[in-house]
Point group: D3
């Protein structure tokens, strides 16, 4: 039994709210327990310089936290004048995860910019971001289809993510901040709806981990992510 | 009759939600129609260098917009590596407005950092920020009193703000984005509950304005701000 | 009687020197007492990206202080690598004030860049800057007319500015640094020669101010600015 | 058979040269085929602010590439004025990998700064960096022991890293640039000499990967890393 | 005969005005023909970290140009967010030149910050800066002596500088902008009043130069600098 | 006799290794004793904006040191977010020196970017850089000729550089770090193979220097640079 009453294999309560903001083509509030992230998808009719004239679109992501999303206030990256290493790492992960399920050629020479802004952090902000951003991405490409800019959905399958870890020697699913800060191992896994991996990022915070532990975490993650796909499908009315 | 059905003297629907986030000492969601701003107040047990050892506290503010708070996505100031002029102007205004009603000596050598993060913009983000931030500030200093760090409330009176302007020749209260973008004059007024002015910032966007027009706008603002005080009091349970 | 012998309604000694530097199309030294600002106007045959191809010109301003314009040396913004909030606020004010009297369509697709560099500061640097920059702007557009690039003067009327404030309970005109640092209220007013307002920015530094006090300051400013227009006209040989 | 004649399970030629530079406490040139990285370890008698007075040391890393380490010249991060996301990601990975095998308490309140500068890049720069940096770290802590600052070696075990991937459907070890740029999956694995994992970072560049593929890559990596430990031991004279 | 009527060995008209600004401890306007530079010397009762507790003072310099000091407007380094290479080069030269004649031990643990701000540029801004800054430095240390902080003048001798060059094959003294932009060789020479060199910086802009040409320029510079010492002495009332 | 056994007129051991790295068009390791610098020359088929369409090429340089090239670790300029004054000064010097011997018109509208990265510093890094960069430049333009992009070698003559100084009153050639840090005068001289000067930069670190001392240093430099030309020629197989 975990400190919040969950079993090792349980997700926190997951909520995905579409149309959370009115201006963006896709705008989702995703909640993994007390972790709350606003994910928007913005369509831009241009691509970065390295793709110009190549017939391919682009999906990229930015990630940030409100200063007081956390227990103690952290200073704004805008005020510091530079983006920190952790932010870079996370926004690159989100971008790669979404591109893995997007058919960039079908998307055409346009970009979809994903913004993940954490308004409240309680562990798992990057996995919640990926899971919510996928729904925002679906809404944005559907908006493109509805206005006739696309004839086919440029998404190959769904993508979702969850964290797993080893806490007090036990593999657990979907760590909250309390668990995360004392975990021996922390692993983020991104999978597609065909049950394959897009990203696996495991880090031994304290003790290195064995093959058996890695497999146990991987199994937990697989089960959790299948539930996330069900929730995504439900909120998308599929 | 205005484009959204309001009369010239009407505020938009105003909503103030306390305890919107769980970590901050004060955390308010303020809504002026479709303008939505998260205002947090964070207590820090230190003061800026220029105040050290002087027995005075400090209140300061930072302001930002989510990239997709607006109709078209604007790039992050963190990504650009610097804070723009408009942001600087607004966060200085919010800070001065709150300091004007705070007894900094009573606050003691500690700081309250106000963060105003616009999640959806539809005109009047700076005045909504000030109005909501005051409530977050009350919650933060009440938290200090509750834990025994302060014996008296270090607030002299309440503060709130509203925009007024001249649109198609007519003075109107609380402009939304649609009105703001075509206004001849745009004025932001910050007042205290004793009916006095803290800040008056009027700008002729197109045609310069007369003394009579300034007085008409000032009167509209006064009436609107009195209603904001009533809403603040109600939400604070006074 | 004020600390320097002036009455409440008196400006300091105002001097405007044209052709102070030889390279700029307009180059003025403006002095409000001991406050001395070099204002240059530079013509550029291009406009910012957002105006390209729209048949409109642009007027913008930058503001800075020499490190030792002030009592104690302040560090250079170039050395700090970023422009501070106060600088941003002032240069935006100067730019808006000059655009308010410029017919940007008549100016054609070109820009006039105003540089206001304070070489000695003694209060009122932003109002001196606006008053002097107008003269530099006249010289720059006259230069354009003289070389045949413009057939009509693209200026609708004149603009000037002055500070007013409440010092020891008394409304006074054109505060110097000594008065400014102890003022209860500080207000900067920008007016056109048709006696209308372009900008009104009043701030309660200590105690909030009443409608009556605002009106008293506004009247003082109006009288002072009329004198500034007379001085501008004289120096321009009108 | 791979394009350079290696079998799927072969490392490139690995060379580790100690004392490559004369000033640093540890200074290693590590070569994985044509990938060449200078790894230095610098001892500093201080720790970052968050560790002061806590009786713990610190190990951290910085990573950079010479502009012409690559096929086409890339611009310097110093000239751009900011460190890119990829650099951040790599230097954080190197730092975590080395801390995982260091007993920070035994190290005492001092820091070891690892610098990994790629002078020639041909794939696998981050794994070569970790493998070489470990040797530089051993030299630096040995230097501390030799001068009597430490009585015991503050290293729990050895650490090394290798990349694996799937190229044309086949799992291969230690990809060079040519393979890396066409790989379907790219995985970096960091292990300790007790055969456990410190970091596992797998990314599907094109097609997502299965559990079976992940296991195949993991096995390849394990074998490769055991060879790296043998090479480290040999060069360290163990 | 040169384009402005001077002979090869003539300086332009040199003017040095003391007490040009009221706040700084030393404040000089120096003019070499149309080149005009404001040089201030500010006393600070601290030294940079590397000198703390070592019983030595410090003299350093910053250099900048107003945007419209030049024929066409150059953008502000503050707006660009960084100081350019040319500026760095010049301010380091000015600092070294003044330290060469200052007895830093006699100065005590305090700093003198020299600011050279070019308000009008017509060639030779760095040499005019050094020549004027020396006078500002004398005024600042005299101010320290007058208030009793120093008992002896911490200056070993005077310093001044001039440019020489080869224009159309002829060595000439004190080049203006017109000459400078077509010179084959440009050399800046800084000397002390004991007729010795502090800095010699010669650059072949087009054709490399011979030993004989270098000697000719050196002789011209020596003669010019002796005249600058006479002017400095006169303005200082010696 | 000097501390390392050299006579006053001796260079340290000079080594120049071509093809040190495989990607760059020119890639040289230059060693002046323990000073080791990697110099690469990269060809780019474009020129800076100010040269576009003018039929002229460009040669420019960047310079950096590895953090642990020095006795104590210095922080990376990329991490600090800006390039320091010393770096600017040196890279401008290297660029000017190489342009002085390049026929930019013959080079055509392309650029050659020189990167000088000091991997070990022991005095004279800028003069070693220039001497090595010339060889890298020869290799890059030869590469252009070999692929038929140039029909004639766009180099007018060779260039090399050495430092001279006055140490304990004696003029010496090619100072190492130990001598450099105690030198009274430090002079860097850049010459061409026609025995003429491109750059002369002398600085009195302590005592100003006389004409006689300057001449003695100049003679030493001339002799040393002639030896450097012989070494360049030998390594280039001329």
């Amino acid at each position: 039994m975990r400190h919040d009453g969950r079993g090792a294999e349980n997700l926190r309560e997951i909520r995905i709210t579409r149309q959370f903001l009115k201006h963006a083509e896709g705008a989702v509030l995703v909640e993994f327990g007390d972790t709350r992230v606003i994910c928007t998808a913005s369509v831009e009719e241009s691509v970065p310089p390295f793709l110009r004239g190549k017939g391919s679109g682009w999906v990229t992501a930015e990630y940030a936290m409100l200063p007081r999303a956390t227990h103690t206030r952290s200073s704004r990256e805008a005020a510091k004048g530079k983006i920190g290493g952790r932010t870079h790492e996370i926004q690159r992960l989100i971008g790669r995860s979404l591109r893995a399920v997007t058919d960039l050629t079908l998307l055409g020479e346009r970009s979809i910019l994903i913004d993940c802004d954490v308004i409240q952090a309680d562990g798992g902000t990057r996995t919640a971001s990926i899971t919510g951003a996928y729904v925002a991405l679906v809404d944005a490409v559907t908006w493109l289809m509805d206005k006739g800019a696309l004839s086919r959905l440029p998404l190959k399958e769904a993508v979702a993510a969850v964290s797993v870890g080893i806490v007090s020697g036990v593999p657990v699913l979907d760590l909250d901040y309390h668990e995360d800060s004392s975990a021996e191992v922390d692993m983020n896994i991104v999978m597609t709806s065909s049950d394959r991996f897009v990203e696996v990022q495991g880090t031994a915070e304290g003790t290195p981990f064995t093959v058996a532990e890695m497999d146990a975490m991987r199994n937990l993650a697989q089960k959790g992510i299948r539930q996330l796909f069900a929730i995504q499908n439900e909120v998308l009315g599929r």
